[in-house]
Amino acid sequence: MAIGDYPKEYNPAVHGPYDPARYYGKPDTPFGQLKLNEIGSWFARRNKTPSAFMGACSRAWWRWQHKYVQPKRVGIAPFFQLLVGSMTFFYIINYGKIKHHRNYKYH
């Protein structure tokens, strides 16, 4: 599988039009339905290669796109989400500098 190809599991004859937000491999139990003692084995089953991680990020991106950005009549919500997300991201990456501006020594 080279860059720009469809996932290996995607078969157009069976799956129809390609949905970039969808995982075409064998579905595992959703993370939200796990019990606490199953989380370890669930992570052990995950494919931890860089391409799989990129695929997961891409699916998440497209899920967000389909849900908040691509519908016909979207509001301002996706822009605010992007704004808040980027604010948080830049706050975190700049945290090392920002923490010198603390006003109190003891908390």
């Binding site: 157009p12 390609y18 497209w62 908390h107």
Partner: protein, 246 residues
């Protein structure tokens, strides 16, 4: 009321949008197998996901509802913010106050101009969609018009049948009228001839009678002798005398 909101958001969650991208299949992948419409339905464009406070997904609040009730997520948010502020994990340096003023400006702008902008953009979306659909809509409309005119033509053709029927009836009536007129004509002609015959016969009889009377009178006057005339005169005088005596 809050429970109604919860119900509504649950209903909305059940119809979560999936996807809208349709791309042609790549030729490199293996193409075989039966299309699975049940597990892999064709993606449809959904409604936008619901958010609260402008950007937080409704699902986040739903996640709290079963554990903490409807105020739980807000309490969590306020508690988290208090924690971050008090421990100075979130440092209130100069940029924080810049952010506050920017937030006020953004809030004012989005509440003041947001609805108008949304209305305008919705109209634009409708315009674009209508322009994309225009060709198809026009084709459908013209075909429907053609069907309607065809139906009307059929209706008119039925009217023509009625008209032809009426015309045939009219012709029959004319034939009947002509027949009756000729019948009347024949009757009148026959009557005229019979009347002529009748008058002719009456005339002939009258002439014959007149001739006969003339002939008889002539013969009778011719047959009266002077003797007889005299006798008759005498007789008359005698009668007059007899009458005069009375």
């Amino acid at each position: 009321m809050l429970s109604r909101i919860a119900l509504r958001s649950v209903a909305a969650r059940q119809s979560t949008p999936t996807a809208l991208i349709a791309r042609t299949s790549a030729s490199s992948t293996e193409v075989s197998g039966v299309r699975d419409e049940v597990n892999f339905p064709r993606p449809v464009r959904g409604e936008p996901g619901k958010v609260r406070l402008g950007f937080i997904p409704e699902e986040w609040f739903q996640f709290f509802h079963s554990k903490t009730g409807v105020t739980g997520p807000y309490t969590f948010g306020v508690g988290l913010a208090t924690y971050l502020f008090s421990k100075e994990i979130y440092v209130m340096e100069h940029e924080y106050y810049t952010g506050l003023s920017i937030f006020i400006m953004v809030y004012y702008a989005s509440t003041r101009f947001g609805p108008k902008l949304a209305e305008f953009l919705d109209k634009e979306v409708d315009n674009v969609e209508n322009s994309w659909n225009a060709g198809r809509v026009n084709t459908i409309k013209s075909l429907e018009d053609a069907i309607a005119s065809e139906k009307e033509a059929q209706w008119r053709a039925q009217g023509q049948e009625l008209l032809i029927e009426a015309k045939k009836e009219n012709v029959l009536l004319q034939l009947e009228a002509a027949y009756r007129e000729r019948m009347m004509n024949a009757y009148q002609e026959v009557k005229r001839r019979l009347d002529y015959q009748l008058e002719k016969t009456i005339l002939e009889r009258r002439i014959a009678q007149k001739n006969m009377v003339d002939w008889i009178v002539a013969n009778v006057t011719k047959a009266i002798t002077p003797d007889q005339e005299k006798q008759a005169l005498d007789r008359c005088i005698a009668d007059l005398a007899a009458l005069a005596k009375k």
